[in-house]
Amino acid sequence: MREMIISELSQAMHELARGFAHYLPRLIVMLILAFAGWAIAYVAKVLLRSILRLIQFDRLSENAGAAQLLTKAALPSATEVVSRFVFWIVWLGFVLLGVSVLGIMGLQEQIGKFFYFLPRLFVAMFILFVGLLAASFFSRAALLAAVNANVPSPRVLSLAIRSIIIVFVLSIVFEELGIAEQTMLVAFGIGFGALMLGLAIAFGFGGRDLAQRFLEQRFVRAKKDENEDEFSPL
């Protein structure tokens, strides 16, 4: 009995040692990959940070309105956020590569999905950034044009343009990420339709006086103002 137990234990120990000997090189490879990944990710972060500072990415994100969002969320500057994001993505990529070397069943498929998802994530982030930039640019252009044309409530007009562009961009971003595509499509349709309907109703009823004033200023007062001498600036 005793010998049998010892024999089983010995066999188990051998199995464990063989298993360990089988996995040890893979574990070492994984650790090497994780360490090398960390070093590469760190270098990538430093390089990217320098490049972003050189191209004044913070100012660009300020123009896009992204900097304000980050400040509200108590996050560091856009340059820092992007650099850190790239660091974690690169390192995580290496760590997952190392994990895949271990050959653990079930994880392989998930890791493959992650690498398949990465390009879409980057594209989505790019679309989001460019979208925010466009929203900021066009809303400011509308605001300036409205102020200089003496249109009533210029900020409302500007905000409406910004909101429409952001909603549109977010719907594209979610579609790109493949997150609840159908839900987002329906939500976007409902949201956009409601916004347009709301604007139409608001302009028709709530803004009746505003519309009247606007049209009067445009077509009645404009003539009167022209008659009151306004000098050529040049």
Binding site: R59, R140, L144, V147, D229, E230, P233, L234
Partner: protein, 422 residues
């Protein structure tokens, strides 16, 4: 002959037929049928009267007119003018019209005129506005003689204006040009001016045509180029300035045509203007300015309203452009009543300089910076009009002079913020 390829084959053929000339009159047009006939006749009359023995040509650079403007230029008969002025004129006066594009583009029109002048080896050139309803044949002489006889390279005009006309020039362009470039040039943005073939040829070779800077305001760039390359300049009093569409003039396009190119030129010209201190007067033929004091009604309430709305609604935009102190001061004066309204010279100078520095650094879109200046300029115009409602010509002139000195005094402030925002 560097600009040969820029000109169309048809224009080149016509220019070759003309041969060399002494005088070239450039006429950029776009749908100016209302005025162009009389202007061409005035030009012809001026040439026959004042330069009867010179070889002369009128070059009309048209931006795709659809009202028959080019036909009016080439069809204007010189015989009527000849009978009425100088029957002994010996030379032939050529009129050439060329369509450079289907839509107007001032730089292309001006480049066409300069290229033609270089090809024809014109000694003296003059550009005339196609809109001016008050042009006289004597203007041709006044703008060309200093070039022909006295060796000047640029002759800028001065005009008789109402005290509230051209406020963008008197309150911004003239003082800024004077303070930064050190030259007391009353009309830096001239629609009529004379220049030597030498200056025109040099400007053609400058890198201003494809540098991505604002298309309009090429006349201002030309004037600034004459200053920075230290060509001989003078001013000449022409008389009353009047435009056909004067009342419809819009502020934002005017700012784009003038302030945009001025701010844009400050970058390449930095080594020049940063080394200049004080300002020097220019030789002037005739009075430097004349002011009309007719009583006029101005909608001050609307100006104040647009200024106050602009300051309130564009606060977020101004935060990117102006310093906190300047913005706070603007927000304070935006609350003032119409009759108590004032926009102090120092505050206006700081506003303009901070806009120039922000334009240099492109803190936001450059066109947005120029547009954002419009409501503030309205505030400054309101303050000027309020201050000089009953003012004499001398009061107005003293006020402009004081503003110029303020711009000169605060020039170190511009240098400081220009560098600090690098």
């Amino acid at each position: 002959m560097a600009e040969d390829s820029f000109l169309t084959d048809d224009l080149l053929r016509q220019l070759i037929n003309v041969g060399e000339v002494d005088i070239l009159v450039g006429l950029p047009t776009h749908n100016n049928a209302k005025t162009i006939g009389s202007i061409v006749q005035t030009i012809q009359s001026g040439i026959l009267r004042w330069f009867p023995r010179e070889r002369a040509v009128i070059i009309n650079a048209d931006g795709g007119s659809r009202d028959g403007t080019p036909e009016l230029v080439t069809g204007a008969s010189i015989d009527d003018v000849r009978r009425g002025s100088n029957p002994y004129a010996l030379r032939t006066l050529h009129s050439i019209s060329t369509k450079y594009a289907n839509s107007p583009a001032a730089p292309v029109a001006f480049r066409t005129i300069l290229a033609a002048a270089e090809l024809l080896q014109a000694k003296a050139c003059v550009v005339m506005s196609p809109e001016s309803s008050s042009v006289e044949d004597e203007w041709i002489s006044k703008l060309l003689r200093p070039v022909r006889n006295d060796g000047f390279d640029l002759v800028a005009p001065t005009y008789r204006r109402h005290k509230f006309e051209g406020l963008l020039i008197t309150n911004l362009l003239y003082p800024v040009t004077r303070a930064l470039y050190g030259v007391r040039l009353r009309e830096p943005y001239a629609q009529e001016f004379g220049f030597s073939g030498r200056l025109g040829g040099e400007f053609l070779t400058q890198n201003v045509w494809d540098d991505g800077s604002p298309g309009d305001g090429i006349e201002l760039r030309f004037t600034l180029a004459a200053i920075t390359t230290q060509h001989r300049m003078c001013q000449c009093f022409l008389g009353q300035k009047d435009h056909v569409e004067q009342r419809g003039a819009d502020l934002v396009p005017a700012l784009r045509q003038t302030v945009g190119p001025l701010f844009s030129a400050l970058e390449p010209d930095f080594p020049f203007w940063s080394a200049v201190s004080g300002s020097q007067p220019l030789p002037t033929l005739g009075p430097e300015h004349e002011v009309l004091l007719d009583l006029v009604r101005v909608n001050r309430k609307r100006l104040r309203e647009m200024f106050a709305t602009g300051v309130a609604e564009l606060a977020a935009v101004f935060q990117s452009i102006l310093s906190p102190d300047t913005l706070a001061e603007l927000q304070r004066i935006a609350l003032l009543e119409e009759n108590d309204f004032e926009y102090p010279a120092e505050l206006w100078v700081k506003t303009v300089y901070e806009f120039a520095a922000s334009y240099h650094k492109s803190v936001i879109s450059r066109d947005h910076i120029i547009q954002a200046l419009a409501p503030l300029f309205r505030g400054r115009a309101l303050a000027f009009i309020t201050e000089h409602r009953n003012g004499s010509a001398e009061d107005v002139e003293n006020s402009i002079e004081a503003l110029c000195l303020e711009f000169e005094r605060l020039k170190p402030y511009l240098l400081e913020i220009w560098k600090s925002r690098e």
